[in-house]
């Protein structure tokens, strides 16, 4: 119990003290995960819509692949990305390895299947009469996409929250392609792994609480937004 309560006090101390390395890790985590989520939404929403709305040959197979990708372990994504981004890899010339950008790419790969799969499921569950009436009114596909996304907005929000939860707590990718470089690519999760490895359990625990608070704030913000939309 002692360790745990110490973790609480240190978490508060860490935040109040304005420790540079802690804030740099928080900033890295927030910016990387937010950017990754944004990119995943931009790519994933239309793809999820196509997958849920249209019927075409091989749709079932595609659905199965996307659903399987949901189970992709982060270390595997990290490992594959490392071999590709390494100076000896195919994309080595872009100098992406051990940068925050590399983590963003990995997190997009991680969250894209979540967005696509959950959006597709949402689109499928939207009342089919919406589509028939929209088509009857002569709506273009892009307008149908818009209307559907608005209709399914709560479900899509859930998809976004789920994806955000997965990428903000992810460690395999950040460690492999970020490299856990202090003040540069150290995120809250890699910092926790490092502190635990150093035997600084209290600091690790404190950082864990910090991460939890971040997730809490994001979710509070979203639920406020949800209520606004519902009115």
């Amino acid at each position: 119990m002692n360790l745990f309560t110490d973790g609480f006090t240190e978490a508060i101390e860490l935040l109040l003290k304005g420790d540079d390395s802690v804030y740099s890790a928080i900033f890295a985590t927030l910016s990387v995960s937010s950017l990754a989520l944004l990119i995943s939404l931009i790519i994933g929403l239309p793809l999820g819509f196509i997958l849920g709305y249209y019927s075409f040959r091989g749709k079932v197979i595609l659905r199965t692949i996307v659903d399987t990708l949901l189970a992709l372990p982060t270390v595997v994504i990290g490992l594959i990305l490392y071999t590709v981004l390494s100076k000896n890899g195919v994309f080595g010339e872009f100098d992406l390895l051990f940068t925050l950008k590399a983590i963003v790419i990995g997190q997009v790969i991680l969250s894209l299947p979540i967005i696509i799969a959950l959006t597709a499921a949402q689109v499928e569950s939207v009342d089919k009469r919406l589509y028939t009436s929209l088509k009857g009114l002569g709506a273009k596909p892009i307008q149908i996409l818009n209307a559907t996304l608005i209709e399914a907005r709560f479900g899509i929000m859930t998809a976004a929250i789920t994806a955000y939860g997965r990428i903000i707590t992810e460690i395999g990718i950040s460690m492999m392609v970020g490299g856990n470089i202090k003040y540069h690519t150290r995120t809250v999760t890699t910092a926790i792994a490092l502190e635990t490895g150093k035997g600084e359990f209290v600091t690790g625990l404190a950082l864990g609480l910090v991460l939890f608070c971040l997730a809490l704030m994001v979710n509070i913000a979203l639920s406020v937004l949800k209520r606004k939309w519902a009115q």
Partner: protein, 273 residues
């Protein structure tokens, strides 16, 4: 919708600028001990102040650090496995290998030393651990410490105690491994720097002590190696050279000697000797 698009575009540009870093930076792969002890945290700001170069380091085992060097993903190595290092330079992956500092390896065990290791020499100590089947915690990660430990086992037993039930390979860093040995009442081998760091963390609840030390075969030499631009066109040879020269100056060598915990020196500088 348009508003959202503009906002998103703004967000992206803002976020993409996060790691636009105008300063020159040197990428180093190093062992866990230089990082865990805080030595690099102590040296990096001084290096940046003296040369304007930002030092970025990846702390892993020496084995992985050498691999990263071969893959051209770093510019310089700060490692401690002389045999592998010399091979690395001989194969022209690295150049300008300079010895920087040393400390020594020690055998740690529970305070009651139930296997009665204290007083034995290296060879009989390891033999005794095997005979009594005392739990031994190995890094098992091909780090410099692990390489050293394996070479000692080979000398003592003619082969590695691989897959023995008392021989535990943790696959983790030195501090975690000492911690595991302490929790499970076993023996382990550590570099002195990390051991002093461990003692400073566990002043009130330390269950471990040094059971073997002071043999010439236990010297732990740290060196820096620049990555050869002939093998890796992108390697920042100039910056790596600056670091090597810098860390070998008498001023920085003195800083290393002054780096202490609990009043004890963690590393002893020995550049140009």
């Amino acid at each position: 919708m348009k508003k959202i698009m503009i906002k998103s575009a703004l967000c992206i540009t803002l976020l993409l600028s996060i790691n636009a870093n105008a300063k020159e930076s040197l990428m180093m792969a190093t062992t866990t001990s230089t990082d865990n002890t805080g030595l690099l945290d102590y040296l990096a700001p001084k290096f940046e102040k003296d040369t304007g170069i930002t030092l970025k380091w990846l702390a892993t085992g020496t084995g992985k650090a050498l691999k990263m060097g071969k893959n051209c993903d770093v510019d310089i190595l700060f490692v401690h496995a002389p045999t592998s290092e010399k091979e690395f330079v001989a194969k022209a992956y690295g150049q300008n290998r300079q010895e920087v500092m040393y400390n020594d390896f020690i055998l740690l065990g529970p305070k009651n030393d139930f296997a009665k290791i204290k007083g034995l020499n290296v060879r009989s100590a390891l033999k005794t651990i095997k005979e009594k089947e005392a739990k031994f915690f190995s890094r098992g990660d091909n780090s410099g410490t692990n390489k050293k430990e394996k070479s000692l086992w080979k000398k003592a037993l003619k082969k590695l105690p691989e897959s023995q039930k008392w021989y535990m390979q943790t696959g983790q860093g030195m501090l975690s491994t000492i911690n595991m040995a302490s929790q499970m009442n076993g023996y382990t081998m550590s570099d002195r720097g990390t051991w002093i760091k461990y003692m400073s963390q566990h002043e009130n609840n330390n269950t471990m002590k040094v059971v073997l030390e002071g043999y010439p075969s236990l010297v732990n030499q740290y060196s820096v190696i620049s990555i050869n631009a002939k093998k890796c066109a992108n390697a920042k040879e100039e910056l790596a050279k600056k670091f090597t020269t810098w860390i070998n100056t008498s001023k920085i060598q003195r800083y290393i000697a002054d780096f202490r915990l609990l009043g004890q020196a963690l590393f002893i500088p020995n550049a140009n000797k």
